[in-house]
Symmetry: C2
Subunit: 348 residues, 2 copies
DNA sequence: TTGTAGGCGTTATCAG
DNA sequence: CTGATAACGCCTACAA
């Protein structure tokens, strides 16, 4: 008795099925049956139960429920960096589809730290999440494990991943960017690429270089800088690029955050964009629409990415048993104001 | 037996303490003791247990753990809109302090929908979250309930909230903005205020008007527009304001997102900022540093907000029993390029 | 149609 | 120092 009081006196003490049963004068089983509609209960009894639930403000304890069912209604999602505005868009997509199917989203921000990512991953499993969505961090150590809940990779694929994934057409996007630049007359181009151990970054770069190749443009290696997908990375890479001779007439940044950093670098170098240096970017988020100048870039459908991934995951949660599916979403060129047409080429 | 197999064959089946005990040739209790260090176990046995845990890749089931302890290591956080870049900053602050204390963050995006907010709130309680952090949505219906886990209000206070809260000095911030504008010579000013049912918005407005009053400036009511804290709200309000006669020489936007909308409106009206229309804003996020022009604004310490709120919450989780604390964080004027000095006043 | 009882994986009490 | 054993709240097979 004293033990029971000790526990129930804690802050989280809540109404249980037991109390509902007692108040409605029915058995525990009956309460469960009306809650889960797992048996047809006599109308009168049912009403009594419903009333009791209402009166006492009962909400089922998801822990015991999950323990019993060996699964919760939680969808776990791991993202590398919540302050990168691309990811919240993806999250919104996931959230909409999950909430609609009465799943809840447990969002974990790995902070690009593999250890943190792994910790969150294990926790998600420990909470018996129904499924996991992951946008892998830079040096992710997550690997397929035995007895995993369904999982789908979003935006980036886990190394050696065989399951479902949803990504964007990074190579195509890079190609689009390269084509636009060469069509606008640029031949002296600097590239700010993402971390080379990220497939994403490699694909964008490859696509971009392919377009350049088709236009007969070749770049010596110092014109290809590698950096983190953030502002600081964009800034320092752009600085290096702008000091090269001959100076590039255009820069390709592999992400919007990088592009913003590059823009700062261009300003800091007392150069004008796009008059003296053009800039094209990848992401085409709202924010790069309001910079000075608005940045031309390759649009990635972030919301769709999340929504689609959520759908694939729910399929698996519902027991779909199929080989892994890869869905690749199209990218799109958004022409804004940061790329100028080169009419006369001084060195020609 | 068949039942047991049925359940353990499910996708989420995992290693349990039972298996550890068997493999290490000790009892269940001993395993628990070495895991929780709740009794000193003989070195040799302990090693066997540790090895078994390692070998089998055991992770405790948080559901049963939480069920038993009547509390999990989850911190729930409800935010109104994940795509508003102010909130992710707050989340980062929370996350850092929570993770450091080995709590996990369950982030819920209410989407400014009171129903969704309430649903998440109940779910968080159902999962026996150790504590809840909430940035209330616009028309929040959350009210104090019996047997709630510790909760602290962040950024905005819940109606009638008596517990802990962390907010920023909105009135002071508004005052700072008003003072800056009048000191720069502006007397014809337009205001884009937030929803009037939000204390936040009211405070900013009141502070701003106070500064105006001290400078002997009074505004007729059509110069005060009310809108949602987003881009669209900023745009349409600014449009209305810019069509007023006499046209305001300066605009005060109650949030960065609004300011960005206002900037678009200024451009769409073929006006130049800051030459013809100055703009001052509230938030001073990174993004408004890169717009054209960079927007002068009142800085809110988002990360600190989250970090501090997290600390208050953990205090409560640890059983601190004290009357509610209100912590108010200071704001700060960040001068950038969107406010011009008015030297000669035509109508003087 | 309703009620009873056992067990999900832990922790904690208490006796050896 | 170690090991049974009883809960925690819920679901469900099975009995009534």
């Amino acid at each position: 008795m004293s033990r029971k009081r000790d526990i129930s006196a804690e802050a989280g003490a809540r109404v249980t099925m037991h109390q509902i049963a007692k108040r409605a004068n029915v058995s525990l089983g009956t309460v469960s049956h009306v809650i889960n509609e797992t048996a047809t209960v006599r109308k009168e009894l049912k009403q009594r139960v419903v009333d009791a639930i209402e009166d006492l403000g009962y909400h089922p304890n998801q822990l015991s429920r999950g323990l019993r069912l060996n699964k919760t209604s939680l969808i776990g999602m791991i993202i590398p960096d919540i302050t990168n505005p691309f990811f919240p868009a993806v999250v919104r997509g996931v959230e909409d589809i999950a909430y609609k199917n009465s799943y809840r989203l447990m969002l974990c921000n790995a902070d690009n730290d593999p250890a943190k990512e792994a910790a969150y991953f294990n926790d998600l499993r420990s909470f018996l999440a129904a499924g996991i969505l992951i946008i892998p961090s830079l040096n992710s150590t997550i690997a397929w494990k035995h007895a995993m809940p369904p999982m789908v990779c979003v935006d980036r694929r886990l190394k050696g991943w065989k399951g479902d994934s949803v990504t964007v057409a990074n190579a195509d996007g890079g190609y689009l960017a390269g084509k636009h630049l060469t069509e606008m007359g640029h031949r002296q181009i600097g590239i700010i690429s993402g971390p080379s151990n990220l497939a994403n970054a490699g694909d964008r770069l490859a696509g971009f270089l392919k377009a350049l190749g088709e236009a007969g443009v070749s770049l010596s290696s110092e014109y290809v800088q590698e950096a983190q997908f953030d502002r600081a990375g964009g800034y320092s890479s752009a600085m290096r690029l702008l000091n090269l001779l001959p100076r590039p007439t255009a820069l390709f940044a592999a992400s919007d955050l990088m592009a913003i950093g590059a823009l700062s670098a261009i300003r800091a170098s007392k150069l004008r964009c796009p008059d003296e240096v053009s800039l094209i970017s990848f992401d085409a988020l709202d924010i790069t629409e309001l910079t000075d100048p608005a940045v031309t870039g390759i649009f990635q459908p972030g919301y769709q990415l999340g929504y689609t991934a959520g759908k694939l995951l729910l399929d698996r949660v519902d027991g779909l048993d199929l080989p892994g599916r890869d869905i690749v979403l199209k990218t799109e060129l958004k022409v804004r104001d940061s790329v100028s047409r080169l009419l006369v080429m001084a060195d020609k």
